[in-house]
Symmetry: C2
Subunit: 398 residues, 2 copies
């Protein structure tokens, strides 16, 4: 393993990595650091080609010491698809989708879970707990089951039915709370305190980012060790955008990609857009968003623990932040299914709506390589589709 | 393209491939034949490594002339996962799952659809129709949308809600029939006759098998151009088992794998087991199964058009056929989720139950390499999971 230490991006304090740890003393999330020179000397791009098409092909850039601790369901190397029919209609010459619906548990949460749970196993954690709006719980419960780690998952009572079921079937301890995810988070915090469990809440442990960063590694490999011009990312907790930025910086430091960085776009829902507001005001952190509500429940995060890291990635790459209304989200989702055949989640659809707006504004140029990141399959969001289907008798003709 | 012609496996009549065609004159499905010597001279195993991780990496063994006609959503190269925790419990030393849940539209139907629709596009088909119990319709509607081909999908009124929605969002013409899939099939047949549409029913066109055969190509590549000892396949229409057998024979003829063939096992539900009955009686074709019923609705096929091909593949590989009760299916599904973290479909779960039975019987030996083929994600089968989750107040403690 090439991990050297953990580092606080806020106060710069460093920590030894071979210990069970949550946040920095200052309350900020911890970041994993590697000896990138050694990584570059140990593996070549060519070496990757004969490895399986999972995110573990980048094992030298992942924080697991012993491969026997890797808990994998075959996740990663999700398709990068050209969206030529949609692109032609909207005026893009090079529009792509990175489709994170094609992954175990049906959402990109699997990336954080495979790395987070593998590392938890390696460090000897026997029980972890987390609050979830649904999809993260589904992923972490699955990987914990595979690891033989007990998981305790708490979700709001209005969490989607499919998430309850996917967690329940793994044998996880699952609870509903008559409240919000913040209430679930408080119950988790009390239980962690009381029983000594590990808290796997977003960014409260250092390894979920490492899983999410593999989206950036894959994009670089899929573009032939180059980067696109723009990446649009649906931003709730923002772990993915933080991870993609980190991945590309690491590849630069290794000399695997050049100086160019893609402009990173944080896409939020109009009903919960704290990062957008902070970016518009030129600030480095966001304020708590009161009364958050959007049908894209995966990005309903009123105040992200890593907001300063998200904003930093946006500023450093000359990116931007933009919000999308729910009706634009649904329209984009439908249009994509009709033109490209992809049934994607509302969070992913928001990135297509955002790309269109930014093209119209001139912020994106028609010939640029643009990647919209879809974070999950529409199959987990059946209620986003209206159905009114005619019923025939067997003797009827079309 | 390396296709030479189409061939009837029953009466051996041959057909020119560059035409729109359905069945042989004798009523049997048509099979695609290639100049395998030329394929072997045109591509090497090494060439594949730098191609994307989709089933189109095997383009020389697929029936599309011009790559611009390929309609892809990034399907294929699904994970092959070791099932070590389940294996240890049951007594397998080398148990694997090929996970076809990790694919666009969430089931292996995407393989037949990507190849079938690409070829339909190439041949200039503008409208196709098909009856479906659900998942095939979901896949074909998606790929047709991406191809700009109009699709007309008819499913029974009791088809799962998720399938109606995934078809509807693509803009397909979708109808429910107050009857069975056989009633839907008759409506399709009348409409095809009346309007000159293409009939995409199972095995009524030659190209779906070619898509499904890529499971066999991938397994060979994933095992390092070797084959496992046993492959268990949930068998309804049986296109997959026919395809896997065809793929391995083609690879043998190309010299890419050796003489060894895996023993192919057709797994059916006790409530609909025509192939098992035929195999037990040593017959070459099956009888219509009256009163078919199982919760594994994807394999509820009372009489498959390709039954003689399925049975041939089983006999030629010294395989077998076995049926599983619905309660065994649900138990296997739950056990897999608890031990391995995978939420799979009931059809896939049946193959694990079958493997266990065959191990107990001594038909499978503990050290053999055994592949259970899971055909879809459990996310499309929420009703297979019972949920009874405690509700907490925000002030409650765990």
């Amino acid at each position: 393993m090439f991990v050297t230490h953990l580092e606080c991006p806020k106060c710069k304090k460093t920590y030894e990595s071979e210990q069970i740890i949550q946040l920095c003393e200052c309350g900020a999330p911890l970041i994993v650091r590697y000896d990138l020179k050694k990584v570059a000397a140990s593996v070549t791009k060519q070496d990757l080609l004969s490895r399986p098409a999972t995110l573990w092909r980048y094992k030298e850039l992942l924080p697991v010491r012993d491969e026997k601790n890797v808990v994998s369901l075959g996740e990663g190397m999700t398709p990068l698809c050209r969206m030529d029919r949609l692109g032609a209609k909207k005026g893009f010459k090079n529009l792509y989708m990175k489709d994170e619906g094609i992954i175990p548990t049906g959402t990109f949460k699997a990336r954080g879970a495979t790395v987070g749970v593998s590392r938890a196993k390696e460090l000897g954690i026997d029980t972890l707990a987390m609050p979830t709006n649904g999809n993260a719980g589904g992923s972490w419960a699955a990987y914990c089951a595979a690891a033989g780690i007990r998981s305790c998952i708490i979700m709001p009572q209005d969490a989607p039915d499919i998430n309850r079921r996917e967690v329940a079937i793994t044998g996880a301890d699952v609870y509903l709370v008559d409240g919000l995810i913040s209430d679930a988070g408080k119950i988790v915090a009390r239980a962690v305190q009381k029983y000594g469990w590990f808290d796997a809440s977003t960014l409260k442990e250092p390894y979920r980012i490492e899983g999410k960063k593999t989206m950036g590694l894959e994009l670089a490999e899929q573009f032939g060790w180059d980067v696109p011009d723009v990446i649009l990312y649906p931003t709730g907790g923002g772990v993915g955008i933080i991870g993609i930025y980190k991945a590309l910086r690491e590849l630069q430091e290794m000399g695997w990609i050049g100086e160019k960085m893609p402009r990173l776009v944080a896409v939020q829902a109009s009903g919960c857009a704290p990062i957008v507001k902070a970016w518009e005001e030129g600030r480095k952190e966001s304020d708590f968003w009161e009364g958050a509500h959007t049908l894209a429940f995966g990005i309903t995060v009123p105040k992200a623990l890593g907001d300063f890291l998200v904003l930093d990635a946006v500023y450093k790459t000359d990116g931007c932040a933009i919000s999308i209304d729910d009706d634009e989200v649904l329209a984009a989702q439908k249009e994509l299914a009709e033109l490209e055949g992809d049934f994607i989640c509302p969070e992913g659809a928001a990135t297509f709506a955002a790309a269109e707006k930014l093209l119209k504004k001139g912020w994106i140029r028609p010939e640029e390589k643009v990647v919209a990141l879809n974070t999950g399959t529409g199959l987990k969001y059946p209620d986003t589709v209206n159905v009114d289907i005619p019923v025939m008798a067997p003797s009827d003709d079309l």
